[in-house]
Point group: C2
Chain length 452, copies 2
Amino acid sequence: MPQANDQAQTQHHLRTLSDAVDTGALQSIRHLLKSLSSPDIAHLIESSPPRQRAVLWRLLDSEREGNVLQELGDDVQAQFLKGMDTDELIALTDGLEPDDIADILQQLPDRIIQEVLLAMDTQDRQRVEKILPYQEDTAGGLMNTDNISVRADITLDVVLRYLRRLPELPEIFDTIFVVNRNDRFLGQLSISKLLSSDPAMTVREIMATDIEPILASVPDTEVANLFERHDWVSSPVINEDGELLGRITIDDVVDVIRDDADHSLLSMAGLDEDSDTFATVRNTFPQRALWLGLNLLTALFSANVIGLFEQTIEKVVALAVLMPIVASMGGVAGNQTLTIIIRGMALGQIGKSNTYWLFSRELGVAICNGLLWASCAALVASLWFNDIIIGAIIASAMIINLMTAATAGVLIPVALRAMKIDPALAGTMALTTITDAVGFFSFLGLATVFLT
Amino acid sequence: MPQANDQAQTQHHLRTLSDAVDTGALQSIRHLLKSLSSPDIAHLIESSPPRQRAVLWRLLDSEREGNVLQELGDDVQAQFLKGMDTDELIALTDGLEPDDIADILQQLPDRIIQEVLLAMDTQDRQRVEKILPYQEDTAGGLMNTDNISVRADITLDVVLRYLRRLPELPEIFDTIFVVNRNDRFLGQLSISKLLSSDPAMTVREIMATDIEPILASVPDTEVANLFERHDWVSSPVINEDGELLGRITIDDVVDVIRDDADHSLLSMAGLDEDSDTFATVRNTFPQRALWLGLNLLTALFSANVIGLFEQTIEKVVALAVLMPIVASMGGVAGNQTLTIIIRGMALGQIGKSNTYWLFSRELGVAICNGLLWASCAALVASLWFNDIIIGAIIASAMIINLMTAATAGVLIPVALRAMKIDPALAGTMALTTITDAVGFFSFLGLATVFLT
């Protein structure tokens, strides 16, 4: 059957599951699990509340646990890993790819890592140990060691016979790497070329040498940008000496791309991209509490700014009615600028040479919007409170705050990046603090001067 | 040279470019362009302000224009397409893949599409015309027609000889599709299998038949989820009759994944994911103005809510000082809930069966956070204004507003999705309107009852 509607199918499975858990009809869950592939089961687990999730995991065949586990997000993975003893972990890693085993091991205490490694056969252990030193978020951490490499001076016919003799070829298999006797990377031979060329030719004659292999220490975000830009399916990974270490395949890069994009979205709301959508209240609360606590501090700061003008407000209550408008417009406009800059940074578009241009553009837009909406706000305010001066004040304050918002929206992420602080995480709150404070101060300050 | 630092390299190119444009040293730009691949040039163009961008495009060899153009985002692409006549467009499409040509054509007026199609050779035209009817955001719009298909009853040796006779194999080439005499999809043969099996075997013996081909009408977001979940490199696309139409490759899916993720991020700030980071003030202004105008309306609505309580504020000015705190906490907490739900929806995790659980979880977190931060706010407010009742009022209002925020954060996206409105686009503003209004109303309302 064609994949008519994948989302609808997931929702159907979720309902089946939820009904079965409620009625205790475990047989129908077993049946469901048998009919699904490991990635689909992982998706179902990630889309399930804790109670259904526990039942799914319990009923899953133990041979499939490893395959399902490596498809799960870090947070959900950790939940299941926590409950396992060493023997279960050893059984779990059986049949997984070295990079997936390394990802799982990196979440465990050192003592357990050693025990699991000792239980593996020598070849597998060596492969995993080759990857383990690299951080998960570098090219080295993304790479696998299932690459096939040949020498340059053999014929394609020899390559074809060599491939046929191998017990297994990698699942994603688009290129063969060419190395010299010291394992230094020389170039690559695409499978398309191999299949379409005369078997009597040598590898050297048809290999591509304009490939730039990726250094193991390159951050995963940059790996993702390279793959995205060059439409790669796989890429060789080398160390500082040019020695071939392994290869990165697109399936792992896709996860990085998704995570990177999610990172900006979630960080801007003070959330973590690894976090589980269906985490319990207990697991969700601490992080949310921290963010709200920080926001309370910044809100108290803004309240303090308002407090400076208590006497002015006492005389003209209309100011209390109108002041949130100025703050809100600044916050929304600044957030637009901030989002553009943060996304441009994630895509590697923004640096010293073009920041000034972006700043001028944002300021230009702010002035246009300021003139447009400040006039509207002035009109409404003047009519509402029957006072032209109050209209002029809200208009001036709004223009000031929109220009502040544009400036802060560009400068905050640039400054945070220079300080090596994640602009997506800290940017939103810093921005709102500034637009609130400047909004209240300019509006109430102008009112103090011109109205009282 | 290995790709030491891709972002730093881009920034270096941008500086070279910007200096060369300033000093008129066009030769060095020509030199730079020659040294870069088409995707790198596209990235440089997308990272450049308009003036540098125009120079880059002008100095680009005309044979490379097509390849660079198809790498650009829709918005930037449209800017260059606007300035071209039909002959230039015809020259441009030469050598591009059918799906990329279709993407470009879909941006042009019907009359010009016909002219460009007529200028193409018959085979190319037929390929493009096969794709053109499908919307860019469906499986049909993503697919290419460069797939290679064979019958099930031939031997692998015949397949290998057939491949060698073809003038060219696709760049991304991981599977061969198997069809019957009516072109109906039967299964697929992976290149790995082809290379590792005995050439005397038939295709039928080793082809995989558990593949679910994608229907041409499936939305691209769902295609992306399927690729992501199953680690596919390519996938067959069929019509309702099961006939093989073409195939989708991972490079095009990666763009969808990036766009999808960007969509949530940018829409939540009222921005468009196709928009150009370096758009001019004139191009940026209208969309930003619309969003700020909508925000002004909602801010005026909140001001009206405050206006109901002018007399209360007149009596107790402290209320004006404290009221933005209640609104701000609700806005920030609600935005967290909203972001979680919108992202869960984008990942296909959220449906009827688990919404209620998520709602309870969010409400639980809101109550915990409410109790924690309302107490803190109460303490600060009581000490600041030396009035315990004002502390009790701000605490109660904050708990009410955090619970409202959790409810709105779940219900708004669910309701918007049911009404077929994009939750990411409309959600933020709807949410802030509610948390502002409820925040001001509960705080000032309670104060009116208990303080005056």
